[in-house]
Each structure stands twice: as structure tokens, then as C-alpha cells.
Amino acid sequence: MANYFNTLPLREQLEQLAKCRFMHLNEFDDGVEALKGKKMVVIGCGAQGLNQGLNLRDSGLDVSYALRDAAIAEKRQSWKNATENGFTVGTYEELIPTADVVLNLTPDKQHTPVVNAVMPLMKEGACLSYSHGFNIVEEGMQIRDDLTVIMVAPKCPGSEVRAEYVRGFGVPTLIAVHEDNDPKGEGLALAKAYAVGTGGHKAGVLMSSFIAEVKSDLMGEQTILCGMLQTGSLLCFDKMIEEGVDAGYASKLIQYGWETITEALKYGGVTNMLDRLSNPAKIKAFDLSEELKVIMRDLYNKHQDDIMNGTFSRVMMEDWANDDVNLLGWRAETAETAFEKTPAGDVEISEQEYFDNGILMVAMVKAGVELAFETMTAAGIIADSAYYESLHETPLIANTIARKKLYEMNATISDTAEYGCYLYNHACLPLLQDFMKDIKTDVIGRGLDLSDTGVDNARLIEVNAALRAHPVEAIGAELRGHMADMKKIV
């Protein structure tokens, strides 16, 4: 199989990368009609598989689960999940030939064997659905011409997909149709009905392409979302220890700091995150982030280039073939870092203190978000996609660190994201070594020690203007506006 993206002419590559549109609620007026009475068979009964199935069934759709013979015979967890919830469970041979839609909700790594096993059993003209485009775009999986291929990707963990549905809402969802496999032109109607069935339409649906989803998703997750937060955590912690800050305090400041400062990001973008700082601290964070952007820009470009030309996926798939030796080794290494091994201290840190004493963390988030956004858009990814895969998802990842540090983050994200995260971290740690030499506790751990908080007017105006003029802020304001219209929790 050849990398699908690389087989396309540049013109088409650019066209596919530029696809991303926030859909209006009235585009979902047909509800689940396109899937009514059709047989939906889910493959994979993990968190996504089970919870999406529960939602679809509660929306009046016919859902069953196809499991491997061994999973059924040994009554594995996936079998238990499905049967305890009252679903029909059967083997591939039993269920796939009856399916109108096959929902492939297995991890990326299993896609090739799963699709190879399923495709010959699928009936003429059926639909194959993915929740991630890696298999199609990077592995170049060829799907039978008569089959429709779509993607429906709720942008949250499976448990949240269910919890939000039960509340009467949903989670933001990305949908796409693989245009090479849309023989009856029904791909979009099926994808929309699927998104309604999981409740996604209430929270906002992005219409994208397989290619834009894969290329932007990979870039975001390995750089700002996971990589930057991992590297930042390790560097900031070691610096504070070196400077004599209490280890428990340092551990807590970082573990919960990302969540706190990116909460401000979620509400009002980079501008609001920086506005939470005092004037001198804001200027300091701005200067640090400018410095960081210069140092790290080549690294971001390299990640984007490797993703675009297929190097990243090729190298990672080599590790898949090698029993994940690299991935497992790096995972073990992370568990041994000082930050990971130091529990958060029993100290009170106020919400504002996370900003005041975490100026460097704010600078790192700003630099990472802006660099990822700039790099993605420079590579032809539309601003909307770039926003979601950089700024929008950062708070979601930061939440996982607050729960159980880097271990939780790497356990929650996909293997693909985890692999990319380690690559970034290995390259970024040495890159920032010199930069960190000049860092003191005024920007990480203790806060600025100033008797006078005055600043130069001209400089402050300059900084404020630069913050607000960044392109990620314009698209962010627009998209957050849409989301707020959707999510009217007043």
C-alpha cells in the first residue's frame, strides 16, 4: 500500500487540505432519517465503540457488534461490554454480510487487518465508516469501489460522548466523505445522520476531508497539544527544583497549572490568557514566547514536513511492525522522570497564582499554539482546522495532565499522538537547553519580584496589539462565537 496523500497531484492535495467548514444546525433537519432501518454493525467495543453505539441505539438506530471469534469464545471485555448492554453480538461472518453500515472503531494500528478481514464480507453498496483517516490517507488502504467511505469523529473521549448525549447535548464532531469512495453520492447524508445519532450536531459539526483531518490532527497532537506540554512540564519542574522551589509545590504548579491557564485560553484565546497576567508579567511572557518561537520554529516545520511527506507515518509504522519497541521504551522513560515521580504537594495555590507564578508556562503555550497554527496554515491547512487542532484542543489535553500527569495524558491520547509526542519531546528538550539556562524563578515558581508594577506605555500598547493581531485570534473569535451559539448554557 502506498501513502494515499502522496499519490495526489499538488492541486488536489491543497484542495483537500483546505476543507473545513462549520455546519449550520439547519443542515441536520433530516435527523437520523438516512440511517433509519439500516443495520449498523460496530467493530471494536472499547470506549468509543460502546458509547457511540449506545447513543446511536438511543437515537432509534439498529446497532450490533461484530467481534472476533476469540473475543466471543473467551468472553473478553469487549464481549462483556456489548452483551451487558443488551446488544446483539456476533462474529464478523455472522454480522458483516447483513450490515448496511460498518463502523470501524478500532485503534489506528488495527485498521489494516480489520478492514482486510471485513471488506470481503461486506455487501454490495454498503458503507464503511472511520473515526480517523490514518488508514486511508497514510497507509493508502484501497476500499472496494462499490463501498461508501465516510468519517465521523467525535472530538472527545468515549465516556464524554455518552455523558453529553445523556444530558441532551453532544460533543463537537468532525465529519468527512472519502470522495474516491462515494459511488452513490450518499456519503454526506450518512455522515450527517450518524453525527445526529451520536448527538454531535447539537454541539457543532465540522465538515472536513480525510486528508485535512489526518494532517492537521497529527500536527496538532504531536507539537502543541502533547509534545509542548510534556517538554514544558519536564523543563519547568527541573528548573524549579534546581532553584530550590519546594518539590511538592513545583509538582502541583505544573500538574494543575496547564489546566488553569488554558481554561483562560479556551474562553478568550491567547489574548485572554496573557491578559490574566499583570502588565509587567504580560510583557515578560510575550518576550519569552517570541524567543521560544524563534528557537522552535524549525522543529515545528520539521514535524509538519514529516507529516506531509509521509516520513512520520512510515517511521511509526516501522515501530508497529517491530512490536512497538520504541513507543513502549519511551513510555517507560517518561514514567521515570522527576516530575512524574513527585506527587503534588498539599499546598493551596489560588487560580491567579497559577498565572503569576507560571509566566514561562503561559509563554510556552502561547508560542506552541501560534507556531502550530502558523505552520499548519503555511502548509495549506485551512485556518479553521488549524485552530481546532491547536488552540481549541489544548485545554482538553491539559485536563488529562491535571488528572494524572503525563501518564494520564499519554494513556488517554491515541498511540499515534503518543508516538509523535515523544519524538517532539526528544528533539525539543536539547533545543531549549541554552534558553533554560537564563530562566530564574521569577518566571517559573515564584513570580516577578517587583515593588513597582509600572510599565512603559508604548511597549504595552505594542504587546497588546501584537497579541490581538495574530491570525489565530481572528478565526478563534469567529469559531468560539459559533460554538457559543450552539452551546447556550446561559
Binding site: 437520523v32 433509519k36 432501518g37 449506545l54 441505539r57 438511543d58 437515537s59 432509534g60 438506530l61 439498529d62 451487558e84 448492554n85 443488551g86 446488544f87 445523556v166 444530558r167 441532551g168 447535548f169 447539537k202 450552539m486 452551546k487 447556550k488 448554557i489 446561559v490
Partner: protein, 475 residues
């Protein structure tokens, strides 16, 4: 001085009884007796003044001179005057006793009386016959009589009724000056009339003294306010909204029909072949020990239990598992439980919590119509929360949250209201609040109620059907 009322039961001409009152009024405390109409608050005050026949218990420490103002006392005096007139057999027109005599005959404190005549500006009617005064005028005379008897206790039953605004202010200020000299017990049914000097509130219901609240305890005070509001307001529960009306169900079909319902956890059968039919407007009480499957059965009905797809379940005309969505089911159900309250953790205003009931959602995700807002505001008025519409739900007390969730469940007038232990976790006062609201709801609508509870005392009038589950032991 301490007045102690011990196990007092008083009969009033067999029309009304006070039951087993235990109450103590200490020196320096000033009480308000409050309660809904007909609750017995005036009877309690009257009992202190010696009215009624004591059947049991006693009152200790009552002072000799009690100044009484009440409609009953006023009526009695007027009645006496009228009888005097009728008794006059001479062929002259009797003018009746002039006000001057009514006030000053037997008066122990003429200086106070004169002072009050000036304050109330009553000089002009001193020579008129008492029985010819208007109600407001005769009330002022009664007040002067009560205050000028050198009272050792004042019993003032609705003393502010019928007074114009200026007089009211003057009179309240006057009472304020007396607080250090005379203990006062006022009967009032409007919280906004409670004078500042009041220190304690006694809440009377059905002839019983149900709550005694120290005014310093603001939480209890607020709850009492709401209880009185729910008990005494005559607002009906608001109508359902027409634009999002629930589809009509045929009256001759059961709302719910469970056939051989079996709920299993692994091999353990929590429920084994239960048959249950709920007809329209039929109220049920569901009881059983913890773990007997009450909530599981309810979640089968609401569609929240996954095994609703593997059982024979007919709900609101839908045979489950035939392409219906849970939202089509939930539109017919109002639901309240402790678990719902725990899950309702979103940043949301009180008004929008109620509106979310139209959508069966936790949180509100669609724009509310003006009609929905108006109905939500009417509900808030019923709950006595009309001034708090924009406050945050999370900042409400636990009991108030429960009240609001009940209103949310009822806002669309569902054919079926499920109340899963609605009083769980509530203190006595809040329990009564919730029950008062539920009774209001049950009385005024065509909603079938399934009521789950442990406590025998939390009964709701009008429930005639009972389903009791037994504890099943592990398989």
C-alpha cells in the same frame, strides 16, 4: 418572665383543636406566630389569652395583664355594644357607648391612652359611638385599649391589618420603643410585615406547632418563608406551553406496560418476571428496601437502562426497540431523583433550569421562547423565587435545588411524573416544602405519579396503588 406551654391541647367549640403544643417564650424574646390560613395561629394566640377549653396540658407563667388586639376581640366588643342597644327597651334611640368611655373606663394608664389618641389622631371621634366606627377606626381604639392597660404581655393578632401607611409606620416605631418593657407575641402571615424587633418565629400548621425558628438562623428563616409561601399562596401551577405541547395519548391505553420484566446483572436476576401496568392518571407508590431494584425499574421506563431493549416494554404507545429514540420517550416523563440533582452540575440560571424541562436536558442548549420564559417565571413565583430568576442554580441550597427540579419536571405537564425518593437528603422543613409542592401538583393536573419513598410519614394524598419490591439475595 417565662411563659411555658406544656403538651397543650385546646378545643374551640369542636370546630378546631390545637394539638400537643410545646412552646416556651423567654424574657427578651419577641415572637411571631405564622402559618397558612386556617392553620391555627390565631387559635394559639387566643389560647394564651384564655380562649377555648383545655383538654390536656397547661400554660405556666402567664402574666396577669395581657393586652390583646385581634379581630375576635374587636368583634366581641362590637357585639356587646350591639346587644346593649337591642336590650334597650325604652323608646329612645341609643347612641351606644362613646369611644371616650371605651378607652378610659377601667383604663390603668390614661397618660399612655392620651398620648396614643394624639398619635393616632383620634380626637375627632372620642364622642362617637364605638359601634358606629369603621373597621380601621375601631381597630385603632382596640390598639389603644391594649397598650394602655399596663400590659405585661402583648398579644397582637394581625395588628397591622387595615392601617394606612402613615399610621402603620408610626405604630411600628411605637412598638419598637416598647420592646425593652413588654414581651410581644404577634400573629402575622406576611413575612414582609415582620417588625425588626422580632427574634423568633413559630410556624403553625393543622393545629400543631411545627417549627420554631430563631431569626438569626437565616437558612431556616428563608426556608420558613418559602414554606409559608407554598402553603398560603393561591397561585395555580402554570399551564403547559402550547407551542411545544406533548403529543396527546389515547386515554384508554396504559401509559406503561411491563411484561415479564427481567433485569440481570451477570447471572444475578435483580428483577424476575415483573408485570406492571400504569394507567393514565393513576398514582403509584413504589417501595422496597435498598437494592431491591426500584431505580432500575424506573430507568427501564425512562429508557436509561440498557436492558430496556431486551425486555417487552410498552411505553406511551412505543413498543421499545423499534426505531424510537429515547427523546420520544422522555418527552412524556417528568423525572426527579437525588441522582439527577447530582448530575445537574452545569452553570445555569434558575429560570433556565426550569426551561430545560421542556427539552429533558441537563443544561439548556437551545434558545428559549418568550412563552417558555413566561412559564418559567410563573413557576418561580409559585416557588417564591421570582426575584432570583437569574441567580446561579449551583448557589441554591440543597432543598431549593430539589424544589426547582420538581418544577422542571412538571413544566411540560407530562402524563407521567416519576419522583424517586424526592425527599431523600432533605431536613424536616425542606421535606415539608417538597411535599407541599408535590401535593399542589397532584391536585391540579392530569399527571400519573410514581412515588418512591422509604418514609411512611412522607405520604402523598391521593396515591391508591402500591407496588412493593422484596429484597432479592444474591444468586
Amino acid at each position: 418572665m417565662t411563659i411555658a406551654v406544656n403538651n397543650l391541647t385546646v378545643d374551640f367549640d369542636e370546630r378546631f383543636q390545637l394539638h400537643n403544643i410545646n412552646w416556651q417564650v423567654d424574657l427578651g424574646h419577641h415572637w411571631v406566630i405564622t402559618g397558612a390560613n386556617g392553620a391555627g395561629k390565631s387559635a394559639l394566640a387566643a389560647a394564651l389569652a384564655g380562649a377555648g377549653d383545655i383538654l390536656a396540658g397547661d400554660i405556666q407563667g402567664l402574666p396577669e395583664r395581657i393586652g390583646v388586639v385581634s379581630f375576635e376581640a374587636q368583634e366581641e366588643l362590637i357585639d356587646k355594644e350591639r346587644k346593649k342597644d337591642d336590650a334597650d327597651i325604652m323608646d329612645v334611640i341609643s347612641e351606644g357607648t362613646p369611644v371616650r368611655e371605651i378607652i378610659f373606663d377601667d383604663c390603668l394608664d390614661p397618660d399612655t391612652a392620651k398620648d396614643l389618641i394624639a398619635r393616632f389622631n383620634l380626637h375627632y371621634l372620642l364622642d362617637r359611638a364605638f359601634r358606629k366606627l369603621s373597621t380601621g377606626e375601631s381597630r385603632k381604639v382596640m390598639i389603644i385599649r391594649a397598650l394602655s392597660c399596663k400590659p405585661q404581655l402583648l398579644l397582637l393578632d394581625e395588628p397591622f391589618d387595615g392601617l394606612d401607611a402613615d399610621t402603620l409606620t408610626m405604630f411600628q416605631q411605637y412598638l419598637q420603643q416598647l420592646v425593652t418593657q413588654v414581651p410581644m407575641i404577634l400573629v402575622l402571615n406576611r413575612f414582609d410585615e415582620f417588625p425588626d424587633f422580632v427574634t423568633h418565629i413559630a410556624y403553625v400548621e393543622a393545629g400543631q406547632l411545627m417549627h420554631q425558628v430563631d431569626k438569626q438562623d437565616t437558612e431556616a428563616y428563608d426556608n420558613l418563608y418559602q414554606l409559608l409561601h407554598l402553603k398560603s399562596n393561591d397561585l395555580d401551577i402554570p399551564q403547559a406551553e402550547t407551542e411545544t405541547a406533548i403529543p396527546k395519548l389515547p386515554a384508554d391505553q396504559p401509559l406503561v406496560k411491563l411484561t415479564d420484566l427481567t433485569i440481570k446483572h451477570d447471572e444475578f436476576k435483580l428483577i424476575d418476571k415483573l408485570n406492571w401496568t400504569i394507567e393514565p392518571n393513576q398514582h403509584w407508590q413504589l417501595s422496597g428496601p435498598n437494592g431491591s431494584g426500584k431505580t432500575a425499574i424506573l430507568s427501564i421506563i425512562t429508557g436509561d437502562h440498557p436492558q430496556c431493549y431486551t425486555n417487552d416494554i410498552l411505553v406511551f404507545g412505543f413498543q421499545r426497540g423499534n426505531g424510537e429514540s429515547i427523546w420520544q420517550i422522555k418527552q412524556f416523563i417528568g423525572y426527579v431523583s437525588t441522582a439527577l440533582q447530582w448530575e445537574y452540575r452545569v452553570q445555569i440560571s434558575l429560570r433556565n433550569v426550569i426551561i430545560s424541562g421542556f427539552h429533558d436536558s441537563i443544561g439548556l442548549y437551545t434558545k428559549a421562547s418568550d412563552g417558555q420564559k413566561a412559564i418559567a417565571d410563573q413557576w418561580l413565583a409559585v416557588l417564591g423565587m421570582q426575584d432570583r430568576a437569574d441567580e446561579s442554580f449551583q448557589k441554591l441550597s440543597y432543598g431549593d435545588q430539589r424544589l426547582l427540579l420538581i418544577a422542571r419536571a412538571m413544566v411540560k405537564h407530562p402524563p407521567l411524573l416519576i419522583l424517586d425518593e424526592p425527599c431523600l437528603g432533605l431536613d424536616d422543613m425542606n421535606r415539608q416544602l417538597v411535599l407541599a409542592l408535590i401535593e399542589k401538583i397532584c391536585a391540579g393536573t392530569e399527571t400519573a405519579v410514581i412515588y418512591v419513598n422509604h418514609h411512611a410519614e412522607d405520604k402523598i394524598a391521593g396515591i391508591e396503588n402500591f407496588l412493593a419490591l422484596e429484597q432479592r439475595q444474591g444468586a
